[in-house]
Amino acid sequence: MTEQVRLTVNGVPRDVEVEPRRLLVQTLREDLGLTGTHVGCDTSQCGACTVHLDGRAVKSCTVLAIQADGHVVTTIEGMAPDGGLHAIQAAFWAKHGLQCGFCTPGMIMSAADLLESNPDPTDDEIRHAIEGNICRCTGYHNIVAAIREAASTLRAGTDVPAAANA
């Protein structure tokens, strides 16, 4: 048995038919083709699937699509809708905050949740905020540097540097 669900994904209303057991991450990836949201584990631990639900970072593997009915979802694809890079994406690039990139969408969504409520975090606060995101490559150092850099760009209110958008 399926149910009709309406989500607003990256600003666009989307109607999907889902079985109640369908996970939000499956709907995003398989029904809506938004494969920027990754799946890295079976145990709600890796954070690769992190998206925003009503503006807050959540693990989309641990939310049913039907629970998001009527709610607003933002995925990595929605961070810079104009085809450019969001300041956090640009900072990950500039500061080498990724290697294989598997964890990166989730890292960026967690960073965005942090910077919304805390525009000037300390390194400790940054590390606490990405506790739910596992990276197998970087050793986290450059991820912290990237989030710090993004915070300062966003505080300055300046646009993303042109080079990063090239």
Binding site: M1, D42, T43, Q45, A57, I66, Q67, D113, G132, N133
Partner: protein, 288 residues
Amino acid sequence: MIPAAFEYDRPTTVAEAVDILARNPGTAKVLAGGQSLLGLMRLRLARPERLVDIGGLAELRGIRALPDGGLAIGALVTYREVLDSALATSRVPLLAMAIADIGDVQVRNRGTVAGSIAHADPASDMPAVVLALEASLVVRSGSGERVVNATSFFEGAFVTDLAEDELLTEIRIPAQPTGVGMAYRHLEQPASGYSIVGAAAVVGRTGGSITTARIGVTGVADAAYRASAVEAALIGTDGGAAAIAAAAAHAAEGVAVGSDIHADAIYRAEMARVHVRRAIEAALGAAG
């Protein structure tokens, strides 16, 4: 990865929710934030036939100030909402002290305080906190409402006083005695963040001697408990380092101390004594 199929209900009132529970005895499970339940269902450790999603119940939202100086936390209040609530953090600082370390941001954004209490994982943090605060739990079923003291709620690992047709609707925290200090200290399992042992303390002095001592302990036994032997030993003392250490020595008394891959019973009992001592010291340090 994918849960087994189930029937799904999304009631819009508490009355409707408890009616669905009553009509599906033993087969329906409540779904709140899903941070414990969906994980179990994905691993097929749980296969409920029916989920009653309480996420739409406006009656269960929000944190209210109680007229006596206490606090009422609705069943849908997330950890994040508690951390963001000036009312909750100022009236009952112990909540934020424990919650800040629970899981990660994503889990705190979705997981509810009430869900953790209803789930009663022996390694979870909130049971120790509500015990030390002498909170009561408001429970609804088709036959009405009852209020249970936290001290008689936690019965075993994942077992509580809640019946299958009952919904936990609110956590009521009474005003705490004036001048008490509060603290939470725990030994975290480094990978999962769950508590190997956790100790919540609400402690206060009047005229140089300890008059309030409430200690909740989690992680040590099958169910969280009040360390009454510690409390009894601490009351009436001066609350100096020697008195605290002597009292904390009773931390694992009267319970069957658990043993698992993270900590055997001897180590766990010792860690209970250490963290109870630290929680009492920190609580007295914070006392007015």
